[in-house]
């Protein structure tokens, strides 16, 4: 059985490996350069935070977008390998050949699915590992590993995405029995779920922490925290996110008068406004997920996708076992 899977996927597998090697070559070449640059910055600044904050972002141009490739890898796997896994064999009637051998349908599906999920996990894992390594200096300088976008390409979540996308493609192909609709479902379903999970669910895996501080001061959560919201809140509970435009109508008249007409120009007037706000009982606030929750969040999100993948695989098995061939 394994030999059949090998024979069916060896050509595509070779292409996939070549693409992975190309990705790795670029990431490694750029990554070593990045690391060297980062070390020179560290030497120059020698622990001076202000100096570090004045540094320009570490990457520009095409290479900075390279890790985003890993965002589309799961979809591509699901479309090219997952969706046709059962559907194309049904369409070309090769199931009648495979199922006429001395192998049950269940075993046929188990071996195919097993190897392809393994391949998806490995592929997603290698890309994630390379991206995580490459992002090290950027994470350190910008403290951004927890931020959406970075969070999605690093750590273990890409493995969950890849396995889920593959499982979705397989299940869609098994239900639809045709490759094209299965591709549409795999593509649409994966993108929709990723959007819903990352924007709606992820901020609430654990109750966010809110810190209040003097509105005249400033506050940055320690480490690579994920700041969900920051701004000012009045004594009566009016919340204003950062930005003068939103702030103006919410302020008491006495403070409004102090607002500079061109806020960016006169910082002296800004501090007068803040002092006025503090006198009226305004506080600064920051709502965030602390840096220490990075790995628990990675684990929760990976777990969600793996559970959904398991459910989809169960559906595929139930259909293949029950449906007449």
């Amino acid at each position: 059985m394994t030999w059949l899977v090998w024979r069916q996927y060896r050509a595509q597998g070779a292409i996939a490996l070549a693409l992975l090697a190309a990705f790795a070559a670029v990431i490694l070449a750029d990554g070593f350069q990045l690391a060297a640059h980062w070390h020179s910055i560290l030497t120059t600044c020698s622990g001076n935070n202000a100096c570090l904050q004045q540094q320009e972002p570490l990457v520009n141009g095409v290479v900075s977008d390279l890790p985003d490739i890993s965002l589309i890898v799961p979809t591509v796997l699901g479309i090219l390998w997952g969706a046709p896994l059962v559907a194309h064999e049904l369409e070309s009637r090769t199931t009648d050949f495979a199922w006429a051998q001395s192998v049950t349908r269940t075993r046929w599906l188990a071996v195919k699915i097993g190897w392809l999920l393994l391949a998806a996990a490995a592929y997603g894992g290698v890309i994630a590992a390379l991206t995580t390594w490459w992002s090290g200096p950027i994470n350190a300088l910008s403290a951004s590993a927890f931020v959406p976008g970075q969070f999605d390409t690093q750590g273990i979540v890409p493995v969950g995405y890849a396995v889920f996308a593959m499982a979705l493609g397989i299940a869609a192909g098994t239900v639809a029995r045709r490759t094209l609709p299965a591709i549409a479902v795999a593509l649409g379903g994966f993108i929709a779920l990723r959007l819903v999970v990352s924007t709606v669910l992820r901020p609430h895996y654990m109750a966010a922490v809110t810190t209040y501080y003097k509105v005249t001061g400033s506050f940055t959560p320690p480490g690579q925290a994920w700041v969900l919201g920051q701004g000012a809140v009045s004594r009566s509970g009016v919340v204003v996110a950062q930005g003068w435009g939103d702030l103006y109508p919410a302020l008491p008249a006495s403070c409004q008068r102090l607002l500079p007409t061109s806020p960016t120009g006169k910082s002296g007037s800004e501090s007068a406004v803040f002092s006025c706000m503090q006198a009226h009982g305004w506080r600064g606030f920051a709502t965030y997920q602390p840096a220490g929750r990075y790995w628990p969040f990675q684990g929760i999100e990976t777990g969600i996708y793996l559970l959904l993948a398991a459910a989809l695989i169960a559906v595929a098995f139930a259909i293949i076992r029950r449906r007449d061939a």
Binding site: W3, D96, Q101
Partner: protein, 283 residues
């Protein structure tokens, strides 16, 4: 679960074992009945023709016997087991579906290796010898072979499983006369090699072809069995029915298989679905 001998069969009196034995086997797809209370037997070692118009239920019956489709009623026993998804059962069955399913991008050699990995008994040399004899290239993608060559590859692969029951669904339908003849020659040789251990059920429209290779008949029409049994016995019986009477000299007309089959094909309509099963196993 299933009675050893369906009531009314003469087989109960004979020691010969049955390769196929069905009792009121039925298959419904929602409102359509694909096969209705089909009770037939095929003794071991026979070559059975499965004939009937399109939609008569031939494919449904074969797929149920192969363990690919589940019946909605009745029982089937194949080689003393119930057709099911079980490696040991599947190893005994050689099933070749109507569309001659092969991986078009793979060569015959690839298929031979796949078969070797998916079957407990696998006679790779049989396929290679057979295809070399027929001058079919082993290393060429099967999608580029002619229809007749593809059918030969598929049949050789099915035989390489060393099955005890061969179920062939319209394997010659798409072939030209020469390819058809070659295909049936291969089949006949395989039966001869099997020494009575190989049973074949072969569906086809081409009764003239079947006449040469088959010695048993199942005739389906309108999802029901119209006729089944040993071909010679059936022909003799029908000759008796049609023959004597006004002809005092006892001059019996020679009824051909084709005439008999055609007469029964429309029987479903004419007899209002009356069950015309005639059983005469053995010879």
């Amino acid at each position: 679960m299933c009675p050893q001998r369906p009531p009314g069969t003469l087989a109960a009196m004979k020691p010969q074992s049955m390769a196929v034995e069905t009792h009121e086997l039925s298959k419904r797809y929602r409102r359509v009945s694909a096969l209705t209370t089909c009770t037939v037997t095929v003794p071991e070692g026979r070559v059975c023709a499965l004939v009937g118009p399109n939609g008569a239920g031939k494919t449904t019956l074969l797929r149920m016997l192969a363990g690919l489709t589940r019946p909605t009623g009745g029982t089937a026993r194949v080689l003393d087991g119930v057709p099911r998804q079980n490696a040991a059962f599947l190893a005994e069955i050689g099933f070749l579906a109507q569309e001659i399913p092969l991986y078009r991008r793979f060569s015959a050699e690839d298929h031979i290796r796949i078969g070797a990995h998916m079957n407990p008994r696998w006679d790779a040399s049989l396929v290679r010898t057979q295809l070399t004899r027929l001058r079919i290239p082993l290393g060429q993608r099967v999608g580029t072979l002619s229809g007749g060559q593809r059918a030969q590859v598929a049949l050789a692969l099915t035989l390489a499983k060393r099955p005890r029951l061969l179920l062939l669904d319209e394997p010659v339908a798409a072939l030209d006369p020469l390819a058809r003849q070659n295909f049936l020659a291969t089949l006949t040789a395989a039966v001869a090699d099997g020494g009575g251990g190989l049973t074949v059920v072969l569906s086809s429209h081409l009764v003239s072809d079947l006449e040469r290779v088959c010695n048993h008949l199942i005739l389906l029409a309108g999802s029901r069995v119209q006729l089944s049994g040993d071909i010679d016995t059936l022909l003799t019986e029908h000759k008796v029915l049609a023959g004597p009477g006004d002809d005092a000299a006892g001059q019996k007309q020679n009824l051909t298989l084709e005439q008999m089959v055609v007469a029964y094909m429309g029987a479903d309509e004419a007899s209002g679905g009356k069950h015309l099963t005639t059983i005469g196993e053995g010879s």
